[in-house]
Amino acid sequence: MRTLSLGRMIEIEDLTKRYGTKTAVDHLSFQVRPGVVTGFLGPNGAGKSTTMRMMLDLDNPTSGTVRIDGRHYRDLAEPLKYIGALLDAKAMHGGRSAYNNLLCLAQSNRIPASRVGEVLDLVGLTAVAKKKSKGFSLGMGQRLGIASALLGDPEILMFDEPVNGLDPEGIHWIRNLMKALAAEGRTIFVSSHLMSEMALTADHLIVIGQGKLLADTSMADFIQQNSRSYVRMRSPQQERLRDVLHANGFVVVEAGGGALEVDGATTEKLGELAAESGLVLHELSAQRASLEEAFMQMTAAAVEYHAQGTDVHSGAAAPGPRWGTTSEGA
């Protein structure tokens, strides 16, 4: 009989992975707590998949440890009952039927064969259970991968980029499934390179860039600190406008196209100020920086492959992440 506990926790301590001179994961430490969806966010090549492979003992860390419930993954006799993982939807033998792909996994963990039918039903693949999985669409493959993760009815579930390449219906389905699984008290760890996706599903965020931990924060805090609101102003008398704003104690940031961005002020107040000073305004609008922009700003220094000629700093991006500080005027 399993004893009731606080739930299964994943602890990552000082995890490092080097390939030759390249460091993929760099002294990473964090915990994944039970009962919530933890988002694992980072640009492509940040080391998310490498970290997840080390969590599952597929790759050996150069140094550091991963503990699941205080134990090393290799010491779990029937790991599917503790952790279910979707790493790569195509990590199945395409020549085998969906049913047999799941059956051989179930058998290796002493999971009753009847469970295979249950999970196939759960992900909606019962009708194609006897079909070879190589004929599956991306969405069906993803569902099969999720079925294999759910096979042992585990307390911890790990999904690597589960919505990649899915249609809106599939994305919606996975989102709801993750929320339902977390609501049952399970530990959900899901990676993504899309902030917008995480904003909809995750309760907690772990952000990494170039293998380093950039943030370990609750989603609510992240939103509070990063969805900066500001006022955008454009005037043919830009120099004078700037002087007036400075004189009144406003923080002004110059944006592209001759616009000024003013933090911590309302449009009413700034409009009146401009009128008092006799300034012509071509634009006066309230703006809100998106979470995606905040994420890009945060990881900009850590993005490995930049496209030529794009600059993530341009436009209405926030002036920079402000971790640990309370945001003023937001």
Partner: protein, 277 residues
């Protein structure tokens, strides 16, 4: 979906599965590997072709020998088994390599090792399932073919020991050669690469020996003629060394193959355990 478990005072509560935890062991890994090997087309193809070749070649050779009425001397008709064994070994090599290398090709290996983190258990289960399947099947086929050959060809009556070597011995030899292929597949992790290496190992020494005309290479040539895998297969059917005075005969080729396979499997275990997947 199952109802969440209620937990005293602590929030968030932990999920507790209704599926009981029962410690899995090698037997479960064996069941898993048996499901894997029986549920892919490549198993049916390689073993089907193998059976077909053994019957067709074995019976064909026996029919030719019986028609020619050439005297066989002291030899029994069991020696004809060799002709089916050589092409059969190519099928066994292919299946042995695919048993593990196809998991690398498809990415299934990551799923397999996530489900069973004991890599030694996975490889052991694969080896046992593969060996028993190939051994059982080839024992039956070699016995049927040998019985037909003995009945068709007018030759010396084989002894019990000869019967045993031509059936159980030949089957064990093929299955062990398959284990060596599996080990090479584990080391190389690439189906086409490992099959090429194994077929090269099977045929190249003999081919190379044929072109060693130089006197200085005489000893190398003799060694290759004696110890090349096809030569050893012939030796398996013979009481005395068929090539020169030394060299293996009787059960010795099987022992040699077993030693090589054991060494290769040892390397496969070590590398599988230490390598990233």
């Amino acid at each position: 979906m199952t109802a969440p478990a209620h937990h005293h005072a602590q929030a968030p509560h932990a999920y507790v599965s209704p599926i009981p935890v029962r410690a899995a062991h090698l037997g479960d890994a064996l069941a898993s590997e048996w499901t894997k090997i029986r549920s892919v087309r490549s198993t049916m193809w390689t073993l089907g072709v193998m059976i077909l070749l053994m019957f067709a070649i074995g019976l064909g050779v026996a029919a030719l020998a019986s028609a020619s009425e050439a005297p066989l001397g002291e030899e029994s008709a069991l020696g004809f088994g060799f002709f089916g064994m050589l092409p059969a070994s190519i099928c066994v090599i292919t299946l042995g390599v695919l048993t593990i290398a196809s998991e690398y090709g498809t990415g299934m290996i990551r799923t397999t090792l996530t489900a069973c983190p004991s890599r030694a258990r996975v490889l052991t289960a694969k080896a046992i399932v593969f060996f028993l399947l190939v051994f059982t099947l080839t024992t039956v086929v070699t016995a049927l073919v040998a019985a037909a050959q003995v009945a068709m060809v007018d030759a010396a009556e084989p002894t019990g020991a000869e019967w045993l070597r031509a059936t159980v011995g030949a089957a064990a030899y093929l299955a062990t050669l398959g284990l060596l292929s599996m080990a090479v597949g584990t080391l190389i992790r690439h189906s086409a690469g490992a099959i090429t290496v194994m077929i090269g190992l099977l045929l190249l020494p003999l081919v190379a020996a044929m072109f060693m005309f130089s006197q200085s290479l005489k000893s190398v040539q003799e060694f290759l003629f004696t110890y090349a895998i096809p030569s050893q297969m012939i030796s398996l059917y013979s009481e005395t060394p068929p090539f020169g005075e030394s060299g293996p005969a009787g059960w010795e080729p099987l022992l040699i193959m077993a030693a090589i396979a054991a060494a290769a499997l040892g390397g496969a275990y070590a590398l599988l355990n230490s390598r990233d997947v």
